[in-house]
Structure formats: structure tokens, C-alpha cells
Amino acid sequence: MKLKFKKSAFAPLLIILFLLITSAVTSYVVINQGTGGYKTRAGWGIPDLDCKLVGGKIPISCGGGKITGSFSTPTPKPKATPTPRPSCATPGVACCPGGNNGSQGIPPYCQGGLFCISGKCSRSNSTPTPTPRPNTCATKAPNSCGYMNRAGCPDGVVYCTGGSTCIDPATGKGPAEGKKGKCVDKPTITPTPTTKPYNPNPQPPVGGGTSSCEGGIWCDEAPTTYTGAAGEIVCGQRDTGGTCRDWQCNGSTGTWSYLGNACNPRTPAVPPTETPVGTGDVTLEFTLRLQGVTGIPKGSKTVPFKVKLKGSSDEDYVTGTLTAGSSGKWTGSTEFKGIPVGADTNYAVYVKVGKHFQKKVCVLNPTESSGGQYSCKDGVGLIPLTAGTNPLDFSGISQLVGDLPTESGEQNGRVDSYDKGFLLNNQRSTDPAKLQIGDLNFDGIIDTADWSLILQSLNVKYDDE
């Protein structure tokens, strides 16, 4: 009676203990599955990396750490107030990139040959993808043009084509914003060339006012915009035909108005962008000789290679492909960007071909008395590199074979039992996959010729470092 009572008391305790353990383990495993913590996983459909609990819902999976934040109810976003539609005929006005359906009250693309860049209509030297204007928005003389509120046209404006220009008959100039005009054939205008930096010719302000106008675009596509004074006329951006046209600053609205008179770009030209002194992009054009190859090979005629530089700067490997040429010479090129260049630079060039040892070369046009003898192991690089193409003829020395790649292309920088074992096990093989690894003389077969080559390179043993 006594002992049985004790046994039966322990059993429930054990059960409770196991339940506690399993529930703790389960919750830990479930919550912390795989990806390292709460902070790296979102909650249940909640894209909040801090794993905040929204609306009182517990995320089913929230990484593997503590839940941060607190229960909260998401605040409903206020409805956006539609902004009035500005005209994209004016430089500097905000616009949307192509594809917007104008639902936000902003035209989807710009007029007047401008491009929408960073939310503004502007001219750009880069390669924009201008949104084409639909043909239904174009007309020619003597039809009406300007703001006609035509559906599908940017800002409701119809343009003139066929060499005509849109003019307000009342003023003889381009129609004001929101007004209609008529397409007239372009008059023969002999633009007056400007012989000095464009000297603004102030005119009485259009419509009064003294406000300046920002975002003026020069016709010569200067990288910066121009802020004009009230009434100032500038030679602004081109029309669809590519002719520069006058624009005038409207002092009362602070915006540029299209005048339409042909004009010449200002001089002098915008100075070129400065480039850092002493650095540049370098293309190394190699001519190499591979051990055992004396002509155009019967087997593969290409092999990968990589190059690194040490000296005026240390540059990591850049890869390329060598192609076999006549007389056993292989050619290929690599590029290094933004490295020190100039006649006073000094580089050692490290060349590593796909089945070969790495060779360190310290001088231009190196030579050797017998294959593999050239060595610059402890030498300082003396090869200058200049911006642009640098031909490097290393065909006076041999790139020694022996460092065979694995099936995944890895080389270990030495000739060892793997390299010899591969050749031994694949004698007489013509399998393309095996040839890529072990055909050291590129003759289309792995045989004793390849074995002889690797024996010659045993004395070298390692890559040049």
C-alpha cells in the first residue's frame, strides 16, 4: 500500500515533465526554423521585419528570436488629395515615367522632345527611352494645335508636324498655356549666331511680375539647368525637328513660356567632365605560348585563363579566354578598370592558364633560354600600363603545364598525385570532358605525350606567387 502509492505519484509527475519538455522544444523549433531568428523573417503575412504584432495576431513564424514591438492596430492611411495637373510643356515640371495612366493627375510623359528623368522633364545625354507621342496628337498646317483637351494626348495638347509650328495668330508667337493656336509652316529664319556666352536680352516681363523661372534647359544640353530672370529669353530645348527655340521667363507665373523662334546654342561648349588623374581602364592583350603546343592544335582551340596584377596597385583576378593561333601562339585579353596608369607605373603580371602553373612576369617581352626557365619569383614588377590597350607579348616564355583542374574547374596551384593520377587513369582517352582536364598539348587525346609534359614541370612544382 505504501510503495504502490509512491509509484503512482511519480508517474503523473513524469508525464508533466515530458509534456513541458516537448512543448518547450516544439515552440523553439517551430519559431526558430532554419533562418536565424525573428529579425530575419516576417510574421504571418506581415511584411514587418521587426516582427511587430498587428491587430493582435501572433505571427506563425517569425524567425528565431524574441518578438519585438507591441500589439497595435494599423493606422488607416489618409486618402491622397489629387494634385492639379501641371503641364509637361514646361521644363522642370514633375512628371511620371512612361507607363503611368495619369491616374494621379500627372501627365505620363513629357512634351517638346524632353524626357522624364528623376521625375522632371529634361533633356539628357544618357540613353533615355522616350515615350513615343501618339500620332493622334499630331497635326499639321493649317489645322488647330495647342491645348485642345484631346483625350490620350499629354496634357491634352496637339502638336504640329510636317515642318510646321504652333503659333497663336493673335500674338504671332507660341500659344500660351492652355490656349489653342494654328499650325503654320516654319518661316525661313536665319538665326543670329551668338558669339559670346549667351547674353540674356531682357524683354518686358510677360504678363507683369518679377518672379524668376527655375529649370531652364539649354539647347546645347548643358548638364545644369538655368534660372532666368523675369522676361529673360534663352535659347532653350529643341523642338521635334531638332531646332533650338526661344523660351521666355514669365515673371508672373515663374514658369518658362515657349516663344518658338529659332536660335543658336550658346558658346563656348560645356567643359568636359573631369576624370581622376592617373587612373584609367586598361585592356591587356596577351600573346602567350603554352608548353607542348607548337601550332594550331587538333583538339580544343580555346582555354580559359586569368590574370592578376601586383605593383602600383594590387588587382584581383580577371578572367578571359585564350584562342590558339598559328605558330603555337595563343591570344586573349582581360580588362582592369580604374587602376593607376602611366609611364611611371610598375606592375608584375600573373598569368594563370587553365591547366598550367601561374607565371609571374615582371618585364615586357620576357625571354628564356629553355622552356620554363624564366623566373621572376622574387623580382619586382617593371611593366608600365597605360590607359587603353596594352599589348603584352609573353610568347618568348612558356606557360608550363601540370596544374590540372578538377571537374569543377578548381586548380590547387601545384602538380601532385591528383594531376599525375588523372593522366595515368585516362591514358588514350578522347572523352571531351576528360580532354578538358588532361589534354595538356591540345592534340585531342590524353597519352604519354601529356605525361612527358607533366614530368618536365615536376621541377617547378608550384605556381609563382
Binding site: M1, K4, F5, K7, S8, A11, L14, I15, F18, L19, I21, T22, V25, T26, Y28, V29, V30, Q33, G34, T35, G36, T40, R41, A42, G43, W44, G45, I46, P47, L49, P59, I60, S61, T406, N412, G413, R414, V415, D416, S417, Y418, K420, G421, F422, L423, L424, N425, N426, Q427, T448, W451, L458, K461, Y462
Partner: protein, 204 residues
């Protein structure tokens, strides 16, 4: 007494039920523990999640850990300065036929100079290089040799070392150094990574 009988009778069904139940609980706990060990386990992802990339440890030499390379010295108690002695490398390839192998030895090169390295396997030749501060030996059969031996605690290499100074020294076979590693290569170009040993030498 009657109470004891009643208690006993009522206890019996519970006891029968409890033990299997406890076993089930233990199994569940073990299962959960195994889940813990599986670091790659994933739940179905939520709508927007970001998954951390697990950084991997640097790749080690690819190969199967099998076999052994050991060292032995003849007349270990009678080595004197200036008098060459022989170090033997013994190999066990664990049943695999070997076409080539690498052995890497490290010793105090102020205490010993290397005399020679030679293969003791018929049809095999050995080359060595000590330019990097350790003795890097590659031994392989020739293409003309058809036999591909299985090493079973067999002598595969002998080295001659010449002591330069007295003292107690250790000569080690290394598993790996720089990009070099001790290995056997079999007839399928499979790589096996053996365990390695060392030997103590007393120079008088």
C-alpha cells in the same frame, strides 16, 4: 487488507497504460530533439520573408578519409650527428588500388638535412620539393606499369636524413599545409585522405 486488494486492483490498469504512454512521450521528445539538430529545416514561408544566407565554412580538401601514412626509423637509439639515418614512410590504403600518392613531411631543417628520397614500391617513382619549408613528396606509377598496388602497412618511401646537431626532435607527417595535402589517388582518380603520424628521434 481489503483496501490493499482494492488499491492493487485499481492500480493495475493504470500501470499498464502508463508505461506505453511514457514510451510514446519519450519518442516524441527524441523526435523533437532530432528536429533541433537539423539546422536546415524550414516551414512554408510567409508572404514576405527574407532568408539569411548561411555562411559556409571554407571548403576543405575534397576526398574520403581513409587509410593512413605513418613513419618509422631504423635504429632510433643509435643516431649520431653527421651520420645519415633512414626514415621509412609506411602506407595503408584501406583496400584501394593506388596509382599515385602524396606525403608531406615536416622537421627541423636546422637539425636535419635531406639526403635522398626514393620509392620502395615496384613501378613507382618519387619526386620531392622542399622549397616551401616542408618536404613535399609525390610518388606515382609510370604509364607502363600495369600493377596498381594496394598498400597494407607497407613501406612506400624511404628518406635519408643527416643530423646536424644533437637533441630530441619530432618528424611529422602532415595531413595538410597550404594547398598541399596527404592523399592517395586510386584507379578511378578518387582521392582518399589518410591519417598521418609522427616519430621521435634522439640525436646523440
Amino acid at each position: 487488507m481489503d483496501n490493499d486488494v482494492v488499491t492493487q486492483q485499481t492500480q493495475a490498469p493504470k500501470n499498464k497504460f502508463l508505461i506505453p504512454f511514457l514510451i510514446v512521450l519519450v519518442l516524441v521528445a527524441v523526435f523533437e530533439f532530432v528536429l533541433l539538430l537539423k539546422k536546415d529545416g524550414k516551414l512554408p514561408t510567409a508572404a514576405s520573408t527574407s532568408v539569411e544566407e548561411i555562411s559556409k565554412a571554407p571548403e576543405e580538401m575534397e576526398g574520403i578519409k581513409e587509410g593512413s601514412l605513418t613513419l618509422s626509423v631504423d635504429n632510433n637509439t643509435n643516431i649520431v650527428v653527421g651520420s645519415p639515418f633512414t626514415v621509412t614512410v609506411n602506407a595503408d590504403s584501406n583496400g584501394h588500388s593506388v596509382v599515385a600518392f602524396d606525403a608531406i613531411l615536416q622537421y627541423d631543417n636546422t637539425a636535419f638535412t635531406l639526403g635522398s628520397v626514393s620509392s620502395t614500391v615496384d613501378g613507382f617513382s618519387a619526386t620531392s620539393n622542399s622549397s616551401r619549408g616542408y618536404l613535399d613528396i609525390t610518388s606515382s606509377k609510370s604509364p607502363q606499369t600495369t600493377a596498381t598496388p594496394v598498400f597494407k602497412d607497407a613501406s612506400v618511401l624511404t628518406l635519408t636524413l643527416i643530423p646536424q646537431k644533437s637533441g630530441s626532435y619530432k618528424i611529422n607527417l602532415l595531413k595538410k599545409i597550404d594547398k598541399a595535402s596527404a592523399k592517395f589517388v586510386d584507379t578511378n582518380t578518387k582521392i582518399f585522405l589518410p591519417t598521418t603520424g609522427s616519430v621521435d628521434v634522439m640525436v646523440k
